[in-house]
């Protein structure tokens, strides 16, 4: 199970961990058939803030937003983010995110910047991510060819079989925004 908590990056490490723990505690005990908003406690900055989350298989995507954001809009944004992950990782699964946290961050940075919504158009996001990945490849990447070969071998004894997140099914109930 994975938490992505936004907007609290500036806190000290222990505080950050506490926030993530408490958020996880709050979110994970909620049923699937309750609403996706949680009123802000003192931990996340007071009553102006809300936790908005979505639950995909074993993953929770949690955004913490203040009252200047539209609640339903953020729900859609999470959907966009997850769909983008799906595209970029080609059928994303939990382990993809766990093993490629850096890449998740890069994608997230194209969606949200410094705590503000940057882009909501999925095509635009994927294009920019792709271009940057290609640039990285052309530079040889962090782990050049030989290292990748080794890594491929290492990957063979994965402890768990990745479970796919089926995004298509979850999608339907969401009130979609019209195309941007």
């Amino acid at each position: 199970v994975q938490n992505t908590v936004q907007h609290v990056l500036l806190q000290a490490e222990d505080m950050q961990q506490q926030i993530i723990r408490e958020t996880f505690h709050l979110v994970s005990k909620r049923d699937d058939n309750v609403c996706n908003f949680l009123e802000g406690g003192s931990l996340i900055g007071g009553s102006d803030y809300k936790l908005i989350y979505r639950h995909y298989a074993t993953l929770y995507f949690v955004f913490c937003v203040d009252s200047s954001e539209s609640e339903l809009g953020i729900l859609d944004l999470i959907q966009v983010f997850v769909e983008t992950l799906d595209k970029c990782f080609e059928n994303v699964c939990e382990l993809d995110l766990i093993f490629h946290m850096d890449k998740v961050h890069y994608i997230l940075q194209e969606v949200v910047m410094g705590g503000m919504v940057l882009e909501t158009n999925m095509n635009e996001i994927t294009t920019q991510v792709d271009v940057q990945n290609r640039m990285e490849k052309s530079e040889g990447g962090l782990s050049a060819a030989p290292a990748r070969a080794v890594s491929a071998v290492k990957n063979m004894n994965l402890p768990e079989i990745p479970r796919n997140i089926n995004i298509g099914d979850i999608n339907i109930k969401v009130p979609s925004l019209s195309p941007f």
Binding site: D31, E71, L142
Partner: protein, 1252 residues
């Protein structure tokens, strides 16, 4: 060498990468900490290597570890190293790590400034993008200040990808460096109409975020946003804009009126729930803002409530939740429309989702009325019984109390019922809110006199059954109510049926298990009870009963004397001794009851919670001054006491008591009594001192309570609140029947009698009279309590600093720092800095900084003053704005025109907004405003278009911009006439709103006060010289800091097709006025103009002149030399000019209060002069505006067609004007301490008006 590289890459094969690290951590679940610490050791080794790839890999892993909660701040420098790698891959890793790990106290951030600047200007857009993203997370005030200009440049980058990031990050920059807001704002505004939707969305995002915190500064953008709203199809943008309008409407009711229609259309048409929801929200905000003035919006309310009902009924919990949320907003102003959906909301209380239940509870809070309170609370009590989790139950409990106690128990008609509810609540298992119930009990018992008898009876029962409450450790929270019960029984013991029984209950040994503070109250109140019991017993003939009571006390109190709690012990032993003494007296058959009860005589009055804060500081009391001077540091601590004791000086030791004689004592006592009588915090012994209060009705003024005999006074045993519901029903029915018989007149009288309680409930509410004519004792406030209620504001809010007036033209001092290395505070070279002032040598730069600071401070002060003024003088408001306007627009010049700060003409904008608001939404109208916005946004032609056609009639209209502007103006005028009638109708309305909204927005005030005609655009720039190559216009302003300096701003415009370069500006100095030249240059050297001009471009430069005497106008001859460069040839050209220093240009707009102004006139130091202007045909406010604008005056006061104005010269001369107008004659009486100056200024004013 090659071998080394190969070896390096082979080594790397065996380095762990991020994936290996993650896998490792997953495989070491048991000893994770140990595994990670070995990993960190490895990482430290890797960081020591030279290979940047290895380092980047290490930093990448560190970022992951940071995410897991490990401190990696030690690697901050390595992160900076990786950030500065030239390869994108590594750079990105570095910036990601920085954005995760850096915060304001990270000291290496200082080192990154130049690296970030380099990346920002990188040719690769992704380098720039990565830097912007990183910076957005760790920007500090220093970084913001140093990089603001670079980021601002990026806002006009060719790539939309960069533009949108740059726009977005500006918000962070503003937060950290508020000074950047004004210079950057014009460009930000321009981005609202960027062709790229992403950039546009980002700009909307930033402005909405800014406007949310300080909406009034953004009201002038309303037309632009309105246009975006009606044209945009991007739902994100729409949502943001609609949310923004929600924040703006409270400030400008006319805006709301304009919004209703398009919003309703959107509500009907959109399929996106998110958009629908936000529309409904904003419509609600509009309706709230209109609620006072507009009666006919019930359709809109109905629509909203309907849509919300659909949301609430939806099976999607999210929609349900939001529907309830929005419903609670409507509730505040239109409770009736919500109350009809009570069924739905009560239904939501049963929802399985706690968030929804809580929302529904919130709604209930606002839905109660006198009529339904009992019913709703009964429902809630049922839920309390059912609730499984303690948190939700506690929430219910607090809500019940909130609902009942809201607005001073407004809805409670039967306090017996309420007390029973409170008592019932004490039976809750394991609640944490015992103290809450206790405080309610105390509050009600103290403040509702009529209920005391009943309350005391209930409390006595509670005390009797205390074992039920304390039986189980889990219930410890609830035992707090015993605190209240004991106090109430003691304090109001005269109401007790059987005080003896209660006394016994309070002295049971079990009490010793209660918390200390409760025991203390028990002991103290046992004493009070004892006094009461004695009193009743002594009345009887049997004296043994009284002695037995004393014996009981003496027997039981030792238990408390042994208490470990200091408070309990102390009280108990005091009282024990007292009782023992009483017993002695009793044995001598002395009647003591009277004296014992005197111990507890007097009544406590409730004090308002804010009373302490509101006590005004008495005159002459300085809380900051020392009462005793602190000992100087030279005196050692040992010496001090020694000195006192050794010398035994009576002066320094305490005053000797023995010497004070009886008389003196009596005197002092009297004085103290006097003091106490005036001291609001002193609990009065006698009720007569109540009269001191003027406002709070004294206790004895409260009408005597009449208890309605139709209500049975007592319900035997522990009360069941349900019984009251029934009883209440019956009573009401009875009452209704009775009322029908009565005449209507009487009812009216009654209503007006209770006018103080504002009833917002339905009319039928009025029919319900409370069971007892209950008077709730108001809480006391100190006399002269300060009325201000602003103590809730958070002084640390970062957005406070962003409360900046954006319509005011940019001042000189507000420029963003230009690219330069910060460490070296060296003078900026002229090519780098467009500002002529900074061409001065080194010494100045530090001084300048200081000046800037001063400047800021003054600006802030000024705006404060202006705000104050606004509050005070209603009429002055409009004029005040005009005064502010008179600060001439200053065009900022920057290297290659990067920073364009167009002089936004306030008057034009204000009247635009006003005009826009006062019209029906005509499409052409909005387009017009768009062109204005575009014109204002376009930096280049702005400088010239700022010259108004009518203020400079001899100015040829050669630029396109000007034409559009003037034609627009004409068009407007035509339209004006057409709609004049319509407007006049509306006028009434505007005024109405204007009053209702109190201290609204400046711009609007102006509009409403000077409704008749918008001000024409004005400019102070006048032609300096012109030939076929170049045109120069100039304006002169006094330097605020230096009494001997004026700044000449010259706009150079290239009129030809060639490139103009090497421009040199030179002036022939006179004895009185000299051009300031950089140190080292001769007195006849010209100044290089710090820019070149491509064809068709204009730019501004400033030149500083020193002047000695300012009482006379003066002309200086000068020359501009320049090179005209074609593709094949270049020629030297020159242009002669005459700089005209008017006396006006030595005046500085200075606000002046009317009292200060009056003092000035009375002082008699001023010489008089006057002038008459014939045939001036313009509205008075235009006339004033012109004087303000062109001659730097500010209006002090305006009464009808007469106004006083003030200005100050740079050398401190006061200039006062009294302007009167009758028919077409304007007479100006003027006073000034320098007659020559005055004469010249008046001549110049005369000339201004002769020109138009």
């Amino acid at each position: 060498m090659a071998l080394k590289i190969v070896k390096g890459s082979i080594d790397r094969m065996f380095d762990k990468n991020l994936q290996d690290l993650v896998r490792g951590i997953r495989n070491h679940k048991e000893d994770e900490a140990k595994y990670i610490s070995t990993c960190i050791d490895e990482i430290k080794q890797e960081l020591k290597q030279d290979n940047i790839a290895v380092k980047a890999n290490a930093v990448c892993k560190l970022t992951y570890l940071q995410m897991l909660g490990y401190d990696v701040s030690w690697a901050a420098f390595n992160i900076v190293e990786v950030m500065s790698s030239s390869k994108f891959t590594y750079k990105r890793i570095g910036y990601l790590a920085a954005s995760q790990c850096f915060h304001e106290s990270t000291d290496v951030i200082m080192l990154t400034t130049n690296q970030i600047r380099k990346d920002l200007s990188s040719p690769n857009q992704y380098d720039t993008g990565v830097a912007l993203t990183g910076l957005s997370c760790f920007v500090t005030p220093d970084l913001a200040r140093d990089l603001a200009n670079d980021i601002m440049t990026l806002m006009s980058h060719t790539k939309p990808y960069i533009r949108k990031k740059a726009v977005l990050i500006m918000y962070k920059v503003f937060l950290k460096y508020p000074e950047s807001l004004r210079p950057a704002f014009p460009r930000l505004k321009e981005k609202l109409e960027d062709p790229d939707p992403g950039v546009q969305s980002a700009a909307v995002n930033v402005i909405c975020e800014l406007a949310r915190r300080n909406p009034k500064n953004y009201l002038s953008l309303a037309p632009l946003f309105f246009k975006l709203m009606t044209s945009s199809t991007n739902n994100w943008v729409l949502i943001k804009i609609i949310k923004l309008f929600g924040a703006l409407t409270p400030l400008e009711p006319r805006l709301g009126k304009k919004l209703i229609e398009p919003l309703t259309n959107l509500i009907h048409s959109t399929s996106a729930m998110s958009l629908l929801y936000e529309c409904v929200n904003t419509v609600i905000a509009v309706l709230i803002s209109l609620s006072s003035g507009m009666p006919n919006h019930s359709a809109s309310i109905q629509l909203c409530v309907q849509k919300l009902r659909i949301l609430i009924e939806d099976s999607d919990q999210n929609l349900k939740y939001l529907g309830l949320l929005a419903m609670s907003k409507i509730l505040k102003t239109h409770p009736k429309s919500v109350q009809s959906h009570k069924d739905l909301i009560l239904q939501c209380l049963d929802d399985k989702d706690e968030s929804i239940r809580l929302r529904a509870l919130d709604l209930l809070y606002g839905m109660v009325s006198k009529k339904n309170l009992m019913e709703i609370v009964k429902k809630l009590m049922l839920h309390v019984d059912k609730a499984e989790g303690t948190t939700y139950r506690d929430e219910l409990l607090t809500k019940i109390i909130d609902i009942c106690s809201q607005s001073n128990y407004q809805y409670i008609t039967n306090f017996e019922w309420y007390i029973s509810i409170l008592v019932e609540l004490t039976r809750l298992e394991g609640t944490r809110h015992g103290h809450l119930i206790a405080s309610q009990m105390l509050d009600v018992a103290i403040r509702v006199k009529a209920i005391r008898g009943f309350a005391v009876a209930q409390m006595a029962t509670l005390l009797d059954n205390a074992h039920l409450l304390t039986g189980n450790m889990q219930r410890m929270g609830i035992c707090e109510v015993l605190y209240a019960a004991a106090w109430i029984c003691g304090e109001f013991s005269e109401h007790l049926e059987n005080p003896m029984q209660t006394l016994e209950a309070m002295l049971r040994p079990k009490v010793a298990t209660l918390p200390g503070h409760i025991q203390a109250v028990y002991v103290q109140n046992a004493a009070k009870l004892f006094a009461t019991v004695l009193k009743s017993q002594e009345g009887n003939t049997d004296s043994t009963a009284a002695q037995e009571t004393s014996q009981l006390m003496i027997d039981r109190l030792p238990l408390f004397v042994q208490s470990a709690n200091l408070e309990v012990q102390e009280r108990a032993s005091c009282i024990l001794q007292l009782v023992k003494y009483i017993q002695k007296l009793q044995q001598k058959d002395v009647e003591v009851a009277e004296e014992v009860s005197a111990l507890f005589a007097g009544e406590l009055n409730p004090v308002a919670p804010k009373a302490q804060k509101k006590v005004p500081v008495p005159e002459g009391l300085d809380l900051d001054s020392w009462i005793n001077e602190p000992p100087s540091e030279s005196e050692s601590e040992d010496e001090q006491p020694k000195a006192i004791f050794a010398k035994e000086e009576p002066k320094h030791s305490r005053p000797r008591r023995e010497e004070v004689d009886e008389k003196e004592l009596a005197k002092r006592r009297e004085a103290r009594k006097q003091e106490q009588a005036n001291n609001p915090f002193y609990i009065k012994a006698s009720p007569s001192s109540q009269k001191v209060y003027q406002e709070a009705p004294g206790v004895e003024h409260i009408p005597v309570v009449q208890i309605d005999l139709s209500v049975p006074l007592k319900v035997p045993g522990l009360p069941m609140s349900d019984q009251y519901v029934k009883l209440e029903e019956e009573r009401r029915q009875k009452e209704r029947a009775e009322k029908k018989k009565k005449e209507k007149k009487k009812r009216k009288e009654k209503r007006s009698g209770r006018g103080k309680k504002h009833d917002s409930g339905p009319e039928s509410e009025e029919d319900i009279t409370p069971a007892h004519q209950v008077d709730i004792v108001t809480e006391e406030m100190p006399e002269n309590a300060l009325p201000s209620d602003d103590d809730d504001k958070d002084p640390n809010d970062p957005h406070k600093a962003l409360d900046i007036d954006l319509d005011k033209p940019l001042a000189d001092s507000e420029k963003l720092p230009v690219r330069s290395h910060r460490a070296a505070e060296a003078p900026k070279s002229p090519t780098e800095d467009g500002d002529a002032t900074s061409q001065e040598p080194k010494k100045k730069s530090s001084k300048e900084k200081r000046e800037k600071k001063k400047d800021k401070d003054r600006d802030r002060k000024k705006s404060k003053e202006e705000k104050k003024k606004k509050k005070h003088k209603h009429e002055e408001k409009g004029e005040d704005l005009l005064g502010g306007e008179a600060e001439e627009p200053v065009v900022q010049s920057e290297e290659t025109n990067e920073v364009a700060a167009p002089p936004t003409s306030t008057s034009a904008e204000v009247s635009d907004l006003d005009f826009w608001l006062s019209n029906a939404p005509v499409p052409s109208n909005t387009q017009e405003t768009a062109t204005v916005a575009a014109a204002e946004a376009a930096p280049m032609p702005e400088a010239t278009s700022g010259i108004a056609p009518d203020s400079e009639p001899d100015e040829p209209k050669d630029t396109e911009m000007e034409e559009t502007k003037s034609s627009k103006h004409k068009k407007k005028k035509q339209k004006k006439e057409k709609e004049e009638k319509e407007k006049k109708k509306k006028k009434k309305h505007h005024h109405h709103h204007h009053h209702s909204d109190g201290g609204g927005e400046e711009a609007v005030q102006n509009g409403t006060v000077e409704e008749e005609e918008p001000l024409p655009p004005m400019s102070n720039y006048c032609l300096l010289a012109e030939n076929s190559y170049v045109k120069m216009v100039y304006d002169i302003q006094g330097n605020l800091q230096d009494g001997s300096q004026v700044v000449v701003s010259v706009i150079f415009e290239n009129k030809c097709d060639s490139f103009l370069k090497s421009m040199e500006f030179n002036v022939l100095d006179s004895l009185n006025s000299k051009l300031q030249r950089p140190e080292g240059s001769g007195p006849h050297d010209g100044l290089t103009v710090p820019f070149q001009l491509p064809p068709g471009v204009s730019n501004e430069a400033r030149f500083v002149f020193t002047v000695q005497s300012i009482i006379m106008p003066q002309k200086l001859k000068g020359t501009l030399t320049f090179i005209v460069k074609n593709e094949d040839s270049s020629t030297h050209e020159k242009l002669d000019f005459k700089l005209h220093f008017t006396c006006t240009s030595y005046l500085i707009t200075t606000p002046c209060y009317s009292d200060a102004f009056a003092k000035l006139l009375e002082s008699g130091d001023l010489k008089c002069s006057s002038v008459r202007l014939e045939g001036v045909n313009m509205p008075f406010h235009h006339l004033l505006a012109r004087i303000c604008f062109h001659h730097h005056f500010s209006v002090v006061e305006r009464i009808d067609s007469c106004a006083s104005m003030y200005s100050r010269s740079i050398q401190g001369h006061h200039v006062c004007l009294l302007v009167k107008v009758s028919a077409q004659t304007v007479s100006i009486d003027a006073k000034c301490d320098e007659p020559t100056l005055l004469g010249n200024v008046l001549d110049e004013i005369k000339q201004t008006f002769s020109q138009c």
